[in-house]
């Protein structure tokens, strides 16, 4: 009996050897992230914040004086920022901040700029840039002075960037510039591509005014449509060319493109609309939409001219104070927000104009 007991002791000894392999969780390593996760201000006049890699654009209501502004930043866990934002109270010119990770191994430089609700109304997609450390291109607009780049356009390229391994070849991305322009030298080309991911099988070529946040797990939350706009738009017009890639992956219908523009009211709870509520939000005032997104006839560009239909009165005072956002959205696959589309569907867009009252 005692021998048998010894035997079991031997077994428990062996199990004790095995146990540490699964059991010991080591102390957490210091964080390596250097993100600015949120920006807040000591005023109600902060309308919107666009995070574009290392550029952060803070959209303010017209009455806010940048010279007396104080901003606060929410950083990644354990990260530190220099200089201390509490000691900075003048944003009349761009301010640089540097964020260092908790483990001190990573540092990211940010440029914070103040913007006022003065979205341009003409989009010719002549100017493209490659964001830092990214392999894709994205169009930008210029402010009234022509000196400062307005990064108002966003696309799903940021998520697709992780999938690509063809460094610095922007033509593999769903959203890219093309020389096949209606006017000027360049136009926007949106191509739907397959990703090979089981849960996200395709990436629709898309381009919209707003912000794309790839870190959202729910893709419809990644697309944050719209930026402050101080006019009442009546029409959106421009030129486009569309070639469907065939039947869509999920629903198996002929793929179509989507062109739409939405003016919506912003408030404390609604800073932007996303893929879930861009069609249903009660904040929507007016919408202009291309009704038939089928292939365009002929070889060249075709004009579109879409009228805004308003369900709600637009509050003029709120409009002037930056209380409305305009979202302009182009997609090569109408069902792109739910990963439905056809490989190769291609939408070219150029010479877009917003006609205001």
């Amino acid at each position: 009996m005692s021998r048998l007991f010894k035997k079991f002791s031997a077994i428990s000894l062996i199990l004790t050897v095995l146990a540490p392999l699964g059991g010991c969780i080591k102390d957490e390593l210091p964080g390596m992230e250097v993100d600015i996760l949120d920006v807040s201000a000591d005023t109600d006049g902060l309308l919107n914040v666009i995070y574009n890699q290392s550029d952060i654009d803070v959209y303010l209501a017209p009455e806010v004086d940048p010279a007396g502004l104080c901003l606060a930043f929410v950083l990644s866990e354990g990260a530190t920022i220099a200089p201390d934002p509490a000691s900075v109270s003048d944003y009349s010119s761009p301010r640089k901040f540097s964020v260092t990770s908790e483990d001190r191994n990573w540092t990211k430089e940010y440029t914070v700029r103040v913007r006022y609700s003065s979205l341009p109304t003409e989009y010719d997609f002549e100017n493209w840039e490659q964001p830092e450390r990214m392999r894709y291109q994205i169009p930008y607009e210029l402010d009234e002075t022509g000196d400062s780049r307005l990064r108002i356009w966003a696309s799903g390229n940021e998520a697709y960037n992780f999938l690509t391994n063809k460094h610095d070849d922007y033509t593999v991305f769903p959203t890219q510039p093309t020389d096949e322009a209606y006017s000027g030298k360049k136009a926007a080309k949106l191509v739907t591509r397959l990703t090979g991911q089981i849960d996200k099988p395709m990436a629709a070529g898309n381009l919209f005014i707003g912000r794309f946040d790839a870190s959202m797990r729910e893709p419809k939350e990644s697309t944050m449509f719209g930026l402050p706009f101080s006019g009442k738009p009546l029409r959106i017009k421009g030129y486009y060319k569309y070639r469907s890639g065939g039947l869509t992956l999920k629903s198996g219908v002929e793929d179509k493109c989507r062109i739409q523009a939405v003016l919506y009211r912003t408030d404390k709870d609604v800073k932007h609309l996303n893929g879930f509520n861009i069609r249903t939000s009660p904040n929507i005032a007016g919408r202009a939409e291309l009704l038939d997104g089928s292939d365009t006839p002929g070889e060249g560009y075709v004009a579109f001219d879409l009228e805004f239909r308003y369900d709600k009165e637009v509050d003029r005072d709120a409009l002037a104070r930056g209380g409305y956002n305009l979202a302009v959205i182009f997609s090569a696959s109408a069902g792109g927000d739910s990963y439905d589309g056809a490989d190769g569907s291609t939408l070219l867009v150029d010479g877009v104009r917003i006609i205001c009252e």
């Binding site: 021998r3 080591k26 990573w106 990214m134 998520a159 992780f162 999938l163 591509r193 797990r217």
Partner: protein
């Protein structure tokens, strides 16, 4: 599963052999001994010490990994001998862990952009592995008395069936902290081909006779070769087969 069917067959043979054999025999006193054994493997494809990137083990589920083996031993003296065997066995487990900033390689094998990506993943990882091996152990045998037997020596395994499935979920992935984080709700993978065809390691086991030729035994097999092929591996961690076999053997 073939192994399961073989195991049931073997259990039948074992019982048959037990009843057929005479009670007076002292099988262990023979110079050449034969044994058949039946057991199950509990263990893991585990790193030696958990890396700090693993923050929490959500679940660990051993599988009913059956083994069936046949062994021959040859006694060189009263107490010492040598042995060798042939074993069909499966080694497998299910694990769920939470990781932080865990460096991963991802193979993208479909779509317009194929190839390997690397990045840091924070979130949940679930793995489900099962490998069927044909294993040949070679042992030094020590028999202090009629009841006990201790064996130690190297083993060599060939994988005849490999499966390594898993998914990452509820997390985010980024190339470096300076790149944007990509949210991941759920992405599945199949890295079965990353498991090496070959494994070897060392074993240490003991058995005690409980009734006639029947013994209980415990046998620890510690793999010395990383389970995943370093040239292909997608998980940036050295993992080894560490399994304890518990079971019965019958000498005849």
């Amino acid at each position: 599963m073939n192994i399961a069917r073989n195991a049931i067959l073997a259990a039948g043979c074992l019982l048959a052999a037990m009843t057929a054999n005479g009670a007076e025999q002292q099988p262990r006193n023979r110079k050449i001994g034969y044994e058949i054994g039946l057991g199950f493997n509990i263990g893991a494809m585990s790193p030696i010490g958990l890396p700090a990137e693993i923050r929490k083990i959500d679940s660990y589920q051993p599988k009913a990994n059956l083994s069936i083996d046949f062994a021959v031993s040859y006694m060189l003296s009263d107490k010492w001998g040598i042995g060798a065997g042939l074993c069909f066995e499966t080694k497998g487990m299910k694990t769920g862990v939470e990781v932080k900033d865990y460096h991963l390689k991802m193979n993208i094998e479909e779509g317009d952009e194929q190839g390997t990506r690397t990045g840091y993943f924070t979130g949940r990882i679930k793995n489900d592995t099962r490998v069927t091996y044909i294993t040949i152990p070679v042992n030094a045998v020590f028999r202090p008395d009629n009841d006990w037997k201790v064996e130690a020596g190297p083993y060599f395994s060939i994988a005849i069936d490999r499966s390594f499935l898993g998914d990452v979920s509820s997390g985010k992935m980024r190339e470096t902290p300076l790149h944007p984080a990509i949210g991941i709700s759920k992405a599945s993978y199949d890295y079965s081909d990353d498991i090496r065809h070959f494994d070897f390691g060392i074993g240490l086991g003991g058995s005690r006779r409980i009734y006639r030729g029947l013994s209980v035994r415990a046998d620890l097999k510690w793999g010395l070769l990383t389970v995943l092929d370093p040239s292909k591996r997608t998980i940036d961690m050295d993992t080894y087969n560490i399994y304890l076999n518990l079971g019965l053997s019958y000498a005849f």
